[in-house]
Symmetry: C2
Subunit: 225 residues, 2 copies
Amino acid sequence: MTTSSPTGRTAGDRPRVRSRAPRNTLNRERVLDAAVALLDRAGPDAFTMRTLAERLGVATMAVYSHFASKDEIVDAVRVRLLAEAKLPARPAGGPREEVRDLCRAAYRLLADHPSVLHLMAARPPDGDEFTLFAERTLEALLGAGLEREGAARAYTALTQYTVGAALWAARRREPGAGTRGSGLPADRYPCLNALAPELVAAAREGTAQYERGLDALLTGLLGAG
Amino acid sequence: MTTSSPTGRTAGDRPRVRSRAPRNTLNRERVLDAAVALLDRAGPDAFTMRTLAERLGVATMAVYSHFASKDEIVDAVRVRLLAEAKLPARPAGGPREEVRDLCRAAYRLLADHPSVLHLMAARPPDGDEFTLFAERTLEALLGAGLEREGAARAYTALTQYTVGAALWAARRREPGAGTRGSGLPADRYPCLNALAPELVAAAREGTAQYERGLDALLTGLLGAG
DNA sequence: ACCTGAACACCGTTCAAGT
DNA sequence: ACCTGAACACCGTTCAAGT
């Protein structure tokens, strides 16, 4: 990836020496690109103003010329990724299928970008940035026959379930997870022991597990359509 | 709260001066008590080894005589609170009611202790410490007629929904939340605008909203019992 | 064995200074 | 206007020392 440096710097013993960066290397766009990449690749713990600046090849404080604080960057990342979410085209199947496809798209976004997940868990979207998804979901719920309060409740429940499921799946994907079920006294916890393989499978599955639960929730909310 | 100090220290200008604490002031129990209190009262961001030690009236490093790291304390807090969770007595109503009551108890625990919520979101329980809740829920799901795989999937979906809903409710309870719905172009987002009051109400409700969604999910999972 | 204070390697952010 | 480096007030944790 590292082609010959345009600055012609010799690969000396103190590579940290950075001659002053060109006047307009940075802008909000470039900062956000690097932020998303860093967040997705290294996780929220490694998302640091110092390493972010390092990836950008610039001094730490240069970033503060474009964002007032780390929180402002985090907010902007969330807005960008939610805006990027590709919502499905309106399906032919009717309102129930549309709700299902919209939720699947939201789940996929969260599963693909663990960073957004973390950001959503820390501060659930409460308006402007989530508008398109919310609008179309509410429209479909109303189209499915729910009255106003029922549609609002159904939308909330669907979003809560989607975030919870994505969070679960993301954590299961991390290093030390998965090898459990042992160490439980079989006489005290017979069901847990008997169903250990199925539980591990359900936890490992992610998408398939989510979609089964989603169908159940939709059935409960909309009827057995 | 501050009664006269047993050490007879004069209320001088440097209250930070702490004469050596008695030999056995600390133990794991006392550390965990203070940790839970601090976590619940001040939130995860304020949960610091330094302030924890301060609450205990002891030097920061004293805590490390009983726990190897901050993570170990966090794990122990999670285990303790999950163990403390009061599960409901077996109801007369049958398996569906038992599942519902177990989930409500789990939601109440998470809602009452935002700290556990944060800890669960960061690392969902994967075995030993969650055993009793899992065992009884799985037993009831099998009793409701689900086969092994169906029970495991249902348990997973219920837990995911419960964590997601509690997370949502907890964040809604924080300072700047609630006053939204304005600023949206009504022609682009007609449903969102029309349902704004209902959405705010659903988000604000917490428990009632959770229980409606739970009933829907149970209906979808178990049939219209 | 248990508690302490100084110190180390981090972190986000302020500030005065460079161009 | 934009970028830089030193500095400040934090953080978790190591270490040598006290009792």
